[in-house]
């Protein structure tokens, strides 16, 4: 079976940002995303997700390495200073590279 290397970018951030991040990742050249609600803790303290307004969301994007790098750079520039956010990259293997 032919598997093709691709990058998975995972973003965990304030729920209020979801729409904006989805806009940004399309601007960076990604063709899809998956999102779900999470709770958690980090440097900005606990996010209990009790008020929907204090929610946390995890967004996963599979993309070509160049797109992933692009996206991470944009996140750093536009969001890292002001928002509770964690973003990381990892390696995955997909079957249909043209989808991403």
């Amino acid at each position: 079976m032919n598997l093709h290397p691709m990058k998975l970018v995972t973003i965990i951030c304030e729920a209020v940002l979801e729409d904006r991040i989805v806009e940004v990742l399309h601007e960076c050249g990604a063709h899809g995303h998956t999102a779900f609600d999470v709770r958690g803790s980090g440097r900005q303290g606990e996010r209990t997700a009790d008020l929907v307004e204090c929610g946390n969301v995890q967004i996963e994007v599979i993309a070509k390495p160049a797109v992933a790098e692009n996206l991470l750079a944009r996140l750093r520039r536009d969001f890292f200073n002001d928002y509770a956010m964690v973003a990381y990259e990892s390696d995955v293997q997909v079957m249909r590279p043209d989808k991403f």
């Binding site: 304030e14 209020v16 940002l17 729409d19 904006r20 806009e23 609600d37 209990t48 997700a49 009790d50 008020l51 929907v52 307004e53 204090c54 929610g55 002001d82 928002y83």
Partner: protein
Amino acid sequence: MDLLTAIQSNLFSPAVLFFVLGVFAAVTKSDLKFPESLYTTLTIYLLTAIGFKGGVAIHEAGIGAVWLPALVAMGLGGLIPLWTYPVLRKLGKFSMADAGAIAAHYGSVSAVTFIAATNFLKSIHEPFENYASAFLAVMESPAIIVGVMLGKGVLGGSKFSLSDPGVRHALRDAVLGKGVLLLIGAMVIGSLCGKRGMESVEGFFVTPFQGVLALFLLEMGMVAGRRLSDLKKVGVFLLLFGVTAPLMHGFAGVLLGGWVGLSIGGATLLGVLAASASYIAAPAAVRLSVPEANPTFSLTAALAITFPFNISLGIPLFFEAAKLLHA
């Protein structure tokens, strides 16, 4: 009924007591947790019900009786940030962003505080203009817009720009946000349906309404209780502000309400609205458009200080003030 009786009757209502229970649950770190979807569901229900009832009342009273006090209410909401902002800047030493953010919260309104006030009036059999929920609906957005502009520095330098994607998202949320949409939408529906429509949905929008509020305040108590630990991060100035601002705004609202011809109950409600601070519409919109502002300040003040103050002492206070005014 004098002030003390009014306060006592309010404190021993199921709604306020369930709020206290919620705070207790949060402070003792009980494993009680409302599902997120229940919180959202109760919010949708309360806003829809209060909007619909208000609409039916508008249908009865005629729009002619409503527009003037509604306009006054709206103006009050939009003006509040203009005097809270300099106070927060000068006396509170807050940054531009933080002062604008807090001003936006205090100019905007809290639907649940309003609903608690209507329940208080109902429980002491004090009549009020049922269409008062129209004031609630129109007071939500203006202050947010004004506060955001102040926070972005319109007064000096100005980073405020509609091409900022955060500002765009924020404005859409402030104007078309779920709170405004449900309230105004249900109000229009109620005013189109009138009494006949009410009959069919009364068993859902009226019968369980007060009990649902009690359950919701249990959750609000937990939410507020979890923020009590942030009180020390917030500083003495904001603690005082969280009590004096609602007092001043509340009395201003009562005065304006009397001036524009509202009944004792109606003036009380306008006072409560002015006194209340938003913890739903404002936080999201402000977070998106003024990200430099620290949300701990505004949310803690609105939720952990002003909200409990209003539903426990504020409501009966503004009611007594409205009575005095009419006497």
